[in-house]
């Protein structure tokens, strides 16, 4: 082996060399813009004009801005309600799919469809389902005699919030269900056998075997789910654009609206930066969720 090739076979030379393409792309298009975004939040940059440092003026303005405060409230409401429903329904669906059912693999494959289809495109279907004049839901309710008028799903603040949350849950449940199903399948059947010999009821088996064994993967899946919901943009943009009267504006949609159509890059960046602390909290949660896995898989704690 020549000296040159031996040099390149050294792990501390070849390693960084192999990392180079990925690292270059990520440093330039992810790390740098992340920093640039935080910096922009402290400037008064507009489209077509380089900003000047104005300290925390953007944030001072945002704290007093009722629309921003409403968007923070909406983001938390949206994330909280949608995540709770996604978790409960997702876990339920996972338990159902883990049972003996006909056409098992086909059903599993079909369940995931809402998650793989482009969100924007399925949101268009929801837009049409929520239409004020031609909504199929209203049509059915009126025909059944439950209602006497059509529901303006996206026209009233609370209804619009509920409608967007339902669309988000619709899209998120399959993801949670399929991930939790994978977790369910790793639980050794012998545990259930032992429990049923000891006379445990179905609920006790669920409470003392399924839930504890599933908790690490629940932590990770829900962290991802919360992260995606908190930063959601597409669904809101298609369904309501933040309306009516800003009732469904999330931080992400408000940031876009102020920065791109509104031209206030600095202010938009400040709104985006304001999301970071919450994301960090979610990531830390995920990290500790991951750590917990070892003992639950029969390994030892470090």
């Amino acid at each position: 082996m020549s000296a040159a090739s031996r040099f390149f076979d050294n792990r501390n030379v070849l390693g960084p060399l192999f990392m180079l393409p990925a690292a270059a792309l990520l440093l330039f298009f992810l790390t740098y813009p992340l920093g640039l975004g935080v910096w922009l939040g402290f400037t008064d940059a507009k489209i077509g004009r380089v900003g000047e440092w104005i300290g925390i003026e953007n944030y001072e303005f945002l704290v007093t801005d009722s629309v921003f405060r409403l968007s923070v409230f909406n983001t938390f409401l949206y994330t909280l309600v949608a995540s709770v429903f996604k978790f409960v329904l997702g876990l339920w669906l996972a338990l159902l799919l883990n049972k003996h059912i006909p056409f098992k693999s086909f059903v599993r494959a079909v369940v995931l469809l809402p998650f793989i289809v482009p969100t924007v495109l399925s949101a268009i279907a929801f837009w049409w389902i929520y239409d004020a004049q031609f909504s199929i839901v209203s049509w059915v309710l009126v025909k059944m005699g439950v209602m006497d008028h059509y529901i303006n799903f996206l026209g009233e603040p609370n209804l619009a919030r509920m409608s967007t949350i339902i669309a988000n849950v619709w899209r998120g449940v399959p993801f949670v269900a399929i991930c939790l199903l994978a977790g369910l399948q790793t639980i050794p059947p012998s545990m259930y056998e032992a429990a049923s010999i000891d006379g445990a009821t179905a609920f006790q088996q669920f409470r003392y075997i399924t839930l504890p064994m599933l908790s690490p993967i629940i932590a990770v899946v829900m962290t991802f789910s919360v992260l995606f919901t908190f930063t959601d943009f597409q669904l809101i943009w298609v369904l309501t654009r933040g309306g009516p009267i800003n009732a469904t504006h999330l931080m992400a949609t408000l940031s876009f609206q102020r920065a791109i159509p509104g031209g206030a890059l600095g202010e938009g960046a400040a709104i985006a930066t304001a999301m970071i602390p919450f994301l960090l909290a979610a990531i830390l949660f995920s990290y500790f969720g991951l750590q917990r896995r070892r003992w639950q898989q029969g390994g030892s704690d470090r």
């Binding site: 501390n12 390693g15 990392m19 329904l89 079909v110 298609v238 876009f256 920065a259």
Partner: protein
């Protein structure tokens, strides 16, 4: 999957009516709710405008199916162009990311160079950075580099979420390949490069397919970057084109919108149906690792 099946071995103890109430009916309700929007999408795209806007007859069925909306979509708008853009961008971004990720994952997982653990953690953290907080600075950069309103703007920015995902997935995959195989090759005088190309990659094909499919779907579905970085109609991708160009003021072309959504969903749906197992493995693998 075998153990899970066996666990249900006692299901014959449950009576059939009970199973209907606890399993089949809830499952059917789930399936109905999850699939109804797709059914509605298909039905709507084949209805004529008159039928769409009448509240009278049974809306759950098409009385006179028509291809008008598809015709309008393909001949009256830039839809074919958007489709083509989406394909180019998704395929290129996927291959670029996959190539970069293979090297990165191999380096982190197998070469174990100094600091590889920290790099692995950094990759995981990068996966958690959402586009919603990157698009404003990226828009500025894209503008300054001079690739605003071109496919390059998307091809170069999509790897920011594809590489972390693919690397993370492939790391898990490489971990499952026995070290002994590499050691044998090293003793036989193979270089690291030969090991990667001739031993690791062939064994990691399922992982590559998983990562590739998932990356393709993610780029196909991307919306925020495409909406921000592209302005000319002929450069748009399908999700952006459908939502920005098929709505003229307050006039919604519901039929064409649904047709556009349907046709735009088909490629990923077809791909998914062929590779369901790989797709699920990719999704759950990334969460489980």
């Amino acid at each position: 999957m075998a153990p899970a099946e066996r666990r249900e071995g006692m299901h014959y103890l449950e009576s059939l009516p009970r199973r209907w109430v606890t399993v089949y009916i809830p499952l059917l309700v789930f399936l109905f709710v999850l699939l109804f929007p797709f059914y509605w999408m298909v039905i709507t795209s084949f209805k004529s405008n008159a039928e769409l806007l009448s509240n009278g007859s049974n809306p759950f069925w098409v009385i006179e199916p028509t291809l008008d909306h598809f015709r309008k979509l393909f001949y009256g708008t830039s839809y074919p162009k958007w489709m083509w853009n989406t394909i180019i961008v998704s395929v290129t971004a996927t291959f670029v990311s996959l190539a970069a990720s293979v090297f990165a994952a191999y380096a982190i997982e197998r070469l174990r160079f100094k600091g590889s653990r920290q790099v692995g953690l950094a990759i995981f953290l990068a996966y958690l950075v959402p586009p919603s907080i990157l698009f404003i600075p990226l828009a500025m950069m894209v503008f300054q580099i001079g690739i605003f309103d071109t496919r390059w703007a998307l091809i170069l920015t999509y790897p920011t979420f594809l590489i972390p995902f693919c690397t993370w997935l492939l790391m898990g995959y490489f971990r499952s390949i026995p070290f002994e195989l590499e050691e044998c090759a090293l003793i036989d005088g193979a270089t690291r490069w030969q090991i990667l190309i001739k031993i690791i990659l062939p064994l990691a094909v399922p992982g590559l397919i998983s990562a590739g499919i998932f990356a393709f779907t993610l780029s196909w579905n991307e919306f925020l970057y495409a909406l921000t970085f592209i302005s000319a109609s002929e450069n748009k991708t399908v999700p952006v084109g459908v939502i920005t160009e098929l709505v003229e003021g307050d006039v919604y072309h519901w039929g064409a919108l649904m047709a556009g959504a349907l046709v735009g969903s088909l490629p990923v749906a077809v791909m998914y149906s062929f590779f369901v197992e790989y797709y699920v493995a990719g999704m759950t693998g990334a969460v489980k690792e």
